[in-house]
């Protein structure tokens, strides 16, 4: 908090991405032994694989945030429109 609003925003973003990452880890399928793994003949590359997990968490969290902001904006816009189009009480 001593870093100010920017630090708080960064901490919140990190927590959000972390939560997204943890939620993804809870998903069950795709373990070794999964018959589908046998189809994947392409070497995904250890570094690519691990980076992808991190990137997917960041991008997925960003998508959730973007969706939330978008929905909130639309709600606000609809609310303002409704207020403006309401006929005067007088």
């Amino acid at each position: 908090l001593s870093a100010g609003p920017r630090g708080l925003a960064a901490a919140l973003a990190l927590a959000f991405v972390g939560a997204h990452l943890l939620a993804a880890q809870a998903a069950q399928p795709g373990r070794l032994g999964d018959p589908h793994i046998a189809l994947a003949y392409v070497d995904p590359g250890a570094g690519s694989y691990l980076l992808q997990i991190l990137l997917a968490a960041v991008l997925g969290a960003a998508a959730v945030l973007r969706g939330g902001i978008w929905r909130a904006w639309h709600r606000l816009r609809d609310w303002v429109k409704a207020r403006l189009s309401r006929p005067s009480a007088r």
Binding site: V42, P44, G47, L51, Q52, L55, L59, A63
Partner: protein, 462 residues
């Protein structure tokens, strides 16, 4: 491989799900038993129909043909044949970008049907009727939530890395794909890209950070099941790659040929007459497949596409290929296939045992070659004797329309202005004599109001 007759395709051996083979001139695909479930899901889920209708996948039909390896076989398919196979290092920037976009769109569509691409090499895309389409029916696997995308590395190496280099550095770097058949090493791309690309999140993440992750964890013993990717994260990753590729701007022109105009070498009337005479030759030959050698922006290649021929319009200058491709897309010319190919050093046979990807010459012969305003560049610009030029024509085509540009032509005079004229043999008589070794000279057509002459040649081997 055991069993029945036929010849396995030399470039189809990596995927244990099946392989291509050829029998009696028909290309067939064997699906192995291990791929039974994914194949049935592809066909019954509606994904196959959706992709074929969207022009993203070549269609196939199941045929009762005997498999090439019956012990492992589940089914045999006969895919629609690709009229002319080309490779990523022969594509201009926009072709590679369109191929990338098609691959990632296929991945997005597949996800909506509960499947995903298990591989993503650029070679799985071919241009058919002017549109990039997936040609590998075995590229799909069931999507399992939590499992990362196995082809992510491939998508970055085959598409994003070369495209970013072409866009930010120089279009000619696309030729690196001729050396690196499994896509550009990301550490190399990261080193070659300018520093400002670190400031673009998509390039920073998918290329620079990716390259460092590959180096850092190259020998990681961590099992691939150790991490999970949520469905939302998976979709966001694909969307991010798609946006990264879609946002790359076209490379700056780097060659001199884009400013070369046919009008500079002819009077208006001579150009009209040349068009008429070339059209006349094409009408006489009625070729199905034309290779236009040194096609530039495809002005004369269009004469052939207008007559229903598929034209492979080859040129060694990236910028003119790019222009030709974009123009063809704009006017929806589905018979034009511009390729970035240097006639003096065409694509060799590449890959495992030099058989995985056939050479340019092995993909012939063409029904008809167009070599218009080319001979003087080859003979004088590249010191190739006339006899060798004719040998090359004989190896590549059944017919040829060749324009002879004499030494008193302004273009040739300009070429010889600053160098010694060591080309005593460069005469029309010598050319005709060489041509008659291999071809029958069907027509000799002087272009009115021009010192140039067109030859219509028919191969004696045809």
């Amino acid at each position: 491989v055991t069993g029945a007759s036929g010849r396995p395709h030399p470039g189809s051996f990596r995927d244990p799900s099946g392989f291509l083979f050829e029998r009696d001139g028909i290309l067939l695909r064997q699906i192995n038993r291990t791929y039974r479930e994914p194949y049935e899901q592809l066909m019954t889920s509606g994904l196959y129909d959706a992709l074929v209708q969207a022009d993203l996948l070549i269609p196939h039909r199941e045929v009762p043909a005997e498999p090439h390896d019956p012990e492992r076989a589940y089914k045999v398919l006969q895919p629609d044949r690709v009229p002319f196979v080309s490779f990523p290092h022969e594509w201009c920037f926009s072709q590679l970008r369109d191929a990338a976009v098609a691959s990632l769109r296929i991945q997005q569509v597949a996800l909506t049907f509960g499947m995903a691409l298990k591989d993503c090499p650029a070679t799985n895309i071919q241009f058919v009727d002017g549109v990039p389409r997936l040609v590998d029916t075995l590229s799909f696997e069931p999507y399992a939530e939590g499992r990362p995308w196995t082809a992510y590395r491939q998508a970055c190496q085959h598409f994003l890395a070369p495209l970013a280099l072409m866009s930010y550095r120089d279009a000619r770097l696309g030729q690196l794909l001729r050396t690196y058949l499994d896509g550009l090493p990301l550490d190399l791309a990261s080193r070659l890209l300018p520093r400002r690309t670190w400031l673009r999140f998509s390039l920073f993440a998918h290329l620079h950070l990716h390259a460092r992750a590959q180096t850092r964890w190259a020998r990681s013993a961590r099992p691939p099941s150790a991490g999970r990717v949520s469905r939302r994260g998976y979709e966001a990753l694909v969307a991010s790659l798609l946006a990264a590729i879609g946002n790359l701007s076209s490379p700056r022109p780097c060659g001199a040929w884009l400013t070369y105009r046919a009008e500079d070498s002819y009077t208006g009337e001579a150009l009209v007459q040349k068009r008429r005479l070339v059209a006349e030759c094409l009408d006489a030959v009625r070729p199905r497949l034309v290779w236009d050698l040194g096609a530039n922006t495809g002005t004369f290649a269009q004469l052939a596409t207008e007559r229903g021929s598929l034209v492979v319009a080859a040129d060694g200058d990236h910028d003119v290929v790019e222009r030709n491709y974009r123009d063809a897309v704009e006017r929806r010319d589905r018979r034009m296939l511009p390729l970035w190919l240097d006639i003096t050093n065409p694509s060799p046979a590449l890959g495992w045992a030099n058989t995985e990807r056939p050479s340019w010459a092995a993909r012939g012969p063409a029904d008809c070659l167009l070599a218009l305003a080319l001979l003087h560049h080859i003979a004088i610009g590249h010191n190739v004797p006339l006899g060798r030029f004719v040998d090359m024509l004989g190896a590549l085509g059944r017919w040829a329309v060749v324009e002879f540009v004499p030494k008193d032509d302004p273009q040739v005079r300009a070429m010889l202005a600053h160098r010694e004229d060591v080309f005593a043999d460069y005469t029309m008589e010598r050319f005709e004599r060489e041509a008659r070794r291999i071809f029958t000279v069907e027509r000799v057509l002087p272009i009115p109001e021009s010192p140039r002459t067109l030859f219509l040649l028919r191969s004696q081997r045809a």
